[in-house]
């Protein structure tokens, strides 16, 4: 890291990022950073960022499981939280266009369930996924996505849940999401959207119900209340 031209200001970056600057000095520091030459401001921001990323990793050292009642309380509050309410968006776009984008979006394929193990290890609590894996009737179905990548579902009817693993599927084009649908007798039910797809992405499907197929479409951001394009991939859960 090169030492820039305002050492006094830069020296404040670490205490600033550690929240060790008194409230009364914050506005002054912000003003100085805003008025500083770009390289100084950049050096300040880089230092703040480095401190925050470092302390995020250091948080492993102090990790303590919170009590379960905190989770219950929080989820109750969030479910009833009136602060932001976004409705599902319904779009009238033509299927052909979205299908074209979907096919263009997918890439190379290779399946690897290794990623699933990582995903599970990241979850500290006994999860839906773990229950599915422990189920006596666990099953796996896999399909290649026509333009590349693989989708695999590990599921259990007994647990009424499944785990989806997407491997090497290209992310949806900017301004679109992938949406998953569980399709049963009553037609498609949204199983959630995927705004970004890492090389390996896992998703929990917590309520399979009587669905027989898991289908994927491309939808506008936020997803749709019903599919607005033909599915670009389907997995049979029958």
């Amino acid at each position: 890291m090169t030492e820039p031209t305002d050492p006094d200001l830069i020296a404040l970056a670490t205490p600033y990022a550690l929240h060790a600057v008194p409230e009364s000095e914050l506005a002054d520091i912000d003003r100085r950073v805003a008025a500083a030459p770009p390289d100084v401001a950049q050096a300040f921001d880089d230092e703040v960022r480095a401190v925050r990323e470092t302390m995020a990793v250091v948080s492993a050292a102090t990790a303590v499981e919170p009590p379960d009642h905190l989770r219950d309380r929080l989820l109750t509050e969030v479910r009833g939280d009136p602060v932001r309410v976004l409705g599902p968006r319904i779009s009238g776009r033509s299927g052909g266009r979205w299908r074209g984008i979907a096919l263009a979006a997918a890439a190379a394929l290779v399946i690897g369930l290794g990623a699933l193990g990582v995903g599970l290890a990241l979850r500290p609590a006994p999860s839906t996924a773990e229950q599915v894996f422990a189920a006596s009737d666990v099953r796996t179905v896999s399909a290649q996505i026509p333009a590349g990548g693989t989708a695999t579902v590990v599921f259990s009817r007994e647990k009424n849940a499944g785990v989806l693993v997407m491997n090497n599927v290209a992310p949806p084009r900017q301004g679109t999401v992938y949406q998953m649908w569980l399709i049963g007798d009553k037609g498609p039910q949204s199983a959630g959207t995927m705004g970004a797809v890492a090389p390996s992405t896992t998703a929990v499907l917590p309520a399979l119900g009587s669905s027989k197929v898991l289908a994927f479409t491309v939808e506008p951001p936020g997803g749709s209340s019903q599919p607005t394009s033909a599915p670009f991939a389907q997995l049979s859960l029958a």
């Binding site: 409230e23 925050r52 990790a63 919170p66 989820l75 509050e77 976004l86 979850r123 500290p124």
Partner: protein, 193 residues
């Protein structure tokens, strides 16, 4: 597949925190739940380490996650990782709480302790977190006592750098460079880019 009926959205969970935050921004409760489960031990542990009071720590942790719920769309991936965003937010709230409690009544001398003591019981059970904890503990151990003390007082005890300087009878420039060197040491030891 031509006849579709309107349906409610069902949840999706991924292990990518940034993707989860994008879903939380659209009020996906299940994405929020997963985000909470993947980060709760880090947040609660940090808040508890700063506040040292179970009641305050629970309240503050709850406030942190309510803020996540309401402002997930303010997370900017180009400005840092989701975990750094979350823990910065959590630490800010914990420190604010400590300072408001301090203003109300002088806190006892628990501040004197100058080591980062690791919780020995009730710890998070994730394997990854356990490994990381060991690595972080080793890296904290690799700092000089003076560096560790500066981080302890500022980050975990919520003192300002001026208060740290008074506490340690060292001048401000020295304290600031100790903090900076401590972070650089940790960063290098932990292999953070």
């Amino acid at each position: 597949m031509t006849v579709f009926t309107p349906v409610t959205r069902l949840p999706l969970v991924t292990t990518d925190l940034a993707a989860l935050l994008r879903q939380v921004a659209r009020q996906d409760v299940d994405a929020f739940t997963s985000f909470y489960d993947q980060t709760r031990a880090r947040v609660f542990g940090l808040v508890t380490r700063v506040l040292r009071d179970p009641g305050y720590s629970e309240e503050t942790t709850q406030d942190v996650y309510l803020q996540v719920w309401r402002s997930a769309d303010s997370y900017n991936p180009t400005a840092g990782s989701p975990l750094a965003w979350l823990l910065t937010l959590a630490h800010r709230r914990a420190v604010d709480r400590v300072r408001s409690e301090q203003a109300a009544s002088a806190r006892d001398s628990r501040y004197g302790a100058a080591n980062v003591d690791l919780p020995s019981d009730h710890v998070a059970d994730s394997v990854i977190l356990r490994d990381e904890r060991r690595q972080v503990a080793d890296c904290l151990g690799s700092l000089t006592d003076a560096q560790r003390e500066a981080i302890q007082l500022a980050y975990y005890d919520g003192l300002t750098y001026a208060q740290v300087s008074e506490r340690l009878s060292a001048n401000l420039a020295t304290i600031k460079s100790r903090m900076r060197d401590a972070i650089r040491g940790l960063r290098k030891c932990l292999g953070i880019a």
